[in-house]
């Protein structure tokens, strides 16, 4: 039982981590809580279905092919990236110098808009995610790891590693870090801050897209509302790990997944959502900088 909960928790946590990265990177660079990020994840899931239907209709591939899955991911990444960048340009950039309340409300507006747009376009009922080739699993004493779970964990780790390399080794990654630390100074060394911000949104959205497709595979059913809950939880994970810190988001995501899974298994599954909210509230009140963040300096 414990092992099973742990496995479930790690799977869930990997997904949370991917989505949390988007929150944390955007917050780190422009100080905005991107409420609409959860919807990007939801869009990713829907993109997966759309791509699959398209490919099937054109008789290009079948559910058994790994290529199908790859194509689904790629299309989802492309579209979600495009959505992320567009949203930033239209709804956030004009509000760069506005009081703190405005971009927050704008983000809420985008979130509501996207949710309802998808609801109207795709219908309010659950949509079935295509059955893909990944079957089977490993049986262990105390639990079973399904192939899909392994796939999710492996993909997440891969993506996080890729992000790590990007942020640590590449020029644009360093520029992102520099901009997050001191925007004005970044422009004084010649970094086009607007461009860097767009790239940040692009990467965050790409990660969320992958998460969306994988969750679709995992649960088999999606609807327009999944973005909200997952978004809140992923944000909680980001805060838990220390908002603005990339390793923090990864750790926070996994931790939250584990806590939620164990809590649902051992305490109560009805109240599992409460765990996330409770953690969120407690962290924000008692240690807003999270696990890996530094204590923000006192205002003077």
């Amino acid at each position: 039982m414990l092992l099973q909960q742990l496995v479930n928790g790690l799977t869930l946590g990997s997904v949370y981590a991917l989505i949390a990265l988007g929150y944390t990177m955007v917050y780190g660079i422009i100080g905005l809580i991107n409420f609409a990020h959860g919807e990007i994840y939801m869009l990713g899931a829907y993109m997966g279905i759309v791509t699959f239907s398209l490919l099937t209709a054109l008789h290009l591939t079948s559910p058994d092919s790994g290529v199908t899955l790859l194509l689904m991911m790629i299309v989802a990444i492309l579209f979600c990236g495009a959505y992320g960048v567009t949203i930033e340009r239209l709804a956030y950039r004009p509000l760069r110098t506005a009081p703190r309340l405005s971009p927050l409300i704008s983000a809420l507006g985008v979130s509501i808009f996207l949710q309802n747009f998808v609801m109207l376009a795709q219908g309010p009922r659950d949509k079935g995610f295509p059955e893909l080739f990944i079957q089977g699993g490993i049986d262990l004493p105390g639990g079973r790891i399904s192939a899909i779970q392994l796939f999710i964990m492996a993909t997440s780790v891969l993506m996080m590693f890729a992000l790590h390399l990007l942020v640590r080794r590449t020029k644009i990654g360093k520029a992102m870090r520099a901009t997050a630390q001191d925007k004005q100074m970044a422009s004084l060394v010649g970094i086009d801050v607007n461009q860097v911000i767009s790239v940040t949104f692009l990467i965050g959205s790409a990660l969320a897209a992958v998460a969306g497709v994988m969750v679709g595979m995992y649960y088999g059913l999606i609807n327009f509302y999944i973005g909200y809950m997952a978004g809140i939880k992923a944000f909680t994970a980001a805060v838990l790990g220390g908002i603005g810190s990339i390793p923090g988001a990864m750790i926070g995501g996994v931790l939250l997944g584990l806590i939620e899974s164990l809590g649902a298994g051992y305490i109560s599954s009805e109240y599992k959502d409460v765990f996330a909210f409770a953690i969120l509230v407690l962290v924000l009140i008692f240690r807003p900088s999270g696990l890996l963040g530094e204590d923000s300096s006192k205002r003077v």
Binding site: A175, R177, A178, A186, S187, L188, I191
Partner: protein, 234 residues
Amino acid sequence: MLRLQEVHAHYGAIHALRGVNLEVEEGQIVTLIGANGAGKSSTLMAISGIIRPTAGRIIFEGEDLTHLPSHAIVRRGISQVPEGRRIFPKLTVLENLEMGAYTRADTAQIRQDLDRVFLLFPLLKDRQSQLSGTLSGGEQQMLAIGRALMARPRLLLLDEPSLGLAPKLVETIFEVIREINAQSTTIMLVEQNAHMALQVAAKGYVMEVGRIVLTDEAEHLMANEDVRNAYLGE
């Protein structure tokens, strides 16, 4: 090389620059001195494009820079070391220097410049992989200057490089400034420490309340009593 014509700038309601006129010739060290709040930093920020002038023009090597965004101005060859050092604290020394060369793509030359910076500041070479936030004030200042040099600027703007540094370090910094100028980089230096600034510069401008009130060759300014009055009052 650089010319400011009747530049006006505002910080919200404050009229920070009230018609600044100055000229910097190629190869010179020009210094801008004056009391606090006179507008010296604002002048540099206007040149670098962080503040948009509300009137007037900034012309660099024949090109009008007045309305360009800051990153474009860096590409044109003007780098600034702003007040307070402002290194990227969570990047290593090496990464900070790499960021200085952000606008460049010529890897071999960048490597050369990196060596040149290490020659100027041997301390930095020893601490390449150290997180720059853990460096001391003087080391950070050296890093900030080195970072600006990595862009191979034609004009280097320095805002109060001696701020908060021990006297011995101040001397070192000013030696470095001379050295950089000797390697044919034009320098515009803003300083509160008028004495040292005038020793190292060829020409000086004295600012008061957003305007240039006095300009002369540095040696003449050093002996000029009006300078002292500008700082300490009548």
